[in-house]
Amino acid sequence: MAYAYYPGCTAHGLSKDIDIATKKVFETLGLRLDEVKDWNCCGGGFYDEYDEVGHVALNLRNLSIVEKMGYQKMVTPCSVCLQSHRLATHKYKENKDLKKEVDDRIKGTSVSYSGSAQAEHIVWVLVRDVGLQKIRERIKRQLTGLKVGAYYGCQMLRPEEIMGFEPAFNPHSMEDLIRVTGATPVSFKAAKSCCGFPLMGSNPKVGLRLAYGVLKSAKEEQADIIIHPCSLCHLQLDNLQLRIKAEFNVNWVVPAIYVTQLLGLAFGFSPEELGISKLAQEVLASRGIV
């Protein structure tokens, strides 16, 4: 089985470890990730405020390439890229005026979107297409005793009618994947709250408060680590973990790793091979996992 693969800018930049872990996990499962040829940025969740027509056109260019590559599913590890593409296609189909402007904009370019290709999240493909049983068969290292907070964030879930994979207020895909590894899923109050990343570009003080709220909520439920499904949550909750610790003057961390990093550990890869942060490695070692 092969999928068109859209890493997104962040998974090819500051969250490169997500790309590394995702490729290893898919390879282990016997699935090919065929990177979208000459892909461009989806707009990072911000571009539609600057130029709504351009935002849709940018996303259609990627999906148009995916169609030419002969795929219908474009999988991405980033919730923001996922939402950006799905919102763009939704608007293109629903808003006639906008569609007309987008069609004018793409005139004379190679972009031609028939509507057959759609963005999908890595998590959806793993849970629905690959199936938990097939993942279970590849487990080499049971993560028994590790308490893992299932963090969903925002864009993989919302808006529910456009994302459409699971109910926004009652999701379970992340818990399902945690269970497969032998770890114990931990539900916590802020699992579907915002990590604050989009505020880091305008109001970082509150952005950090939101991130702290997520980690504190997971800590209150005794999570050792949390897993998340988004390259930008990764920047916020993994890369900024120590900044949050300093800012709020706490003596604890709840390292955040990407969902395929957790699966990669269960498949027998070392934390180093998966690009897992030092902080998470310390916690994993303290729990006897590595």
Binding site: C9, T10, H12, G13, L14, K16, D17, D38, W39, N40, C41, G43, G44, G45, F46, Y47, E49, Y50, D51, E52, V53, G54, L58, R61, Q83, D97, R105, G108, T109, S110, V111, C154, Q155, L157, R158, P159, A168, F169, N170, S193, C194, P198, L199, G201, S202, N203, V206, G207, R209, L210, G213, L235, D238, N239, L240, Q241, L242, R243, S277, K278
Partner: protein
């Protein structure tokens, strides 16, 4: 089985509140059919089982905005939600009902909406027409294409669900909240309105305080998309005078995102950091990255889009 014959026995757990007792849960059992709204279920509980239960409801048709509450944790209008639909969605006959989050509880499912109304009034939710129009010397016509832009955002029924669910509201007293922004944009973008400068002063700083979590988009019973109104409001940012630090940082960041995409077709993270926070701010981030062993990824050089001319053609200007 026909819809008419669909029935179920349901257990409704209500999170109740009194000043004396605080919060406590109480269970009620009743039979519902295909057409039973939650407002009807609550009416039956109150009239047949427990007259002390307090809740708000008025129109029963999703127009008045009185019956906002949490049903199985979801912020919903009770009148627009059918009991059987919730049973089907969650696969359980046990359903929880709670008052909206964030607002102060008054009694049971009734919350104090003063905070919400204050937010709404802050954005001056009415049209300020020109003197000529007020004096009857001119007509103020609205073109259909302008009305199209405003229509969606004018549909707010002031139910408060979006504010109750908004994480930025809870963390940031300077943020007006989603509903006020939808209403504010409806007048900001109205060509008949005459107090644009004042509106910019009220709305722009707050617009940069939204975290784009799409909670308001998800919970709005009128499909208003307040977050879209906020995005459209940010497009007016350049017209604002006396810019706050939040506005300046936000504009810098958006500009950095745009120029990175325009130049390379991609967001080059390190470059956007530098443009937004400057050298000193970026250096601080780098130290934290180094401590967690992730600095190497800051140095990853992503290749630009080969067909960059095509990408530029897709962008405005």
């Amino acid at each position: 089985m026909s819809l008419k014959n669909e029935e179920a026995e349901v257990v409704i757990k209500v999170k109740r509140y009194t000043q004396e007792k605080g919060f406590y849960w109480q269970e009620y059992k009743l039979k519902v059919d295909r057409f039973t709204q939650f407002t009807e279920a609550l009416r039956r509980i109150k009239s047949e089982q427990d007259p002390t239960l307090a809740y708000r409801a008025s129109c029963h048709m999703a127009v008045c905005g009185s019956c906002g509450m949490k049903i199985n944790g979801e912020p919903k209008l009770a009148c627009k939600t059918l009991v059987l639909d919730v049973i089907k969605k969650y696969g359980s006959n046990v359903i929880t009902i709670e008052p909206m989050d964030y607002f102060k509880p008054v009694k049971d499912l009734v919350v104090d909406l003063d905070d919400f109304y204050n937010r709404m009034h802050k954005v001056k939710p009415r049209l300020y027409p020109s003197n000529e129009v007020l004096e009857g010397k001119a007509e103020h016509r609205l073109k259909p294409e302008d009305q199209k832009v405003l229509w969606k955002f004018a549909q707010c029924i002031w139910c408060g669900l979006c504010v109750s669910a908004c994480p930025a509201v809870q963390e940031d007293p300077e943020f007006l909240g989603p509903a006020a922004h939808a209403k504010g944009f409806r007048f900001l973008a109205d060509p008949r309105d005459t107090i644009t400068e004042e509106r910019l002063k009220i709305l722009i700083d707050s617009a940069w305080r939204c975290t784009y979590c799409y909670m308001c988009y998800n919970v709005c019973p009128r499909d208003i998309e307040p977050v879209t109104a906020i995005k459209k409001t940010r497009a007016f940012s350049r017209l604002a005078k006396d810019k706050t630090e939040v506005i300046k940082t936000g504009e810098k960041h958006t500009e950095a995102v745009h120029s990175s995409i325009f130049d390379s077709g991609k967001i080059m993270g390190s470059r956007v950091y530098l443009s937004t926070y400057g050298l000193l701010g970026s250096m601080k981030e780098m130290i934290f990255l180094m401590q967690s062993g992730k600095l190497k990824y800051a140095l990853v050089k992503e290749k630009a889009v080969e067909n960059i001319q095509e990408v530029r053609k897709l962008l405005r200007g």
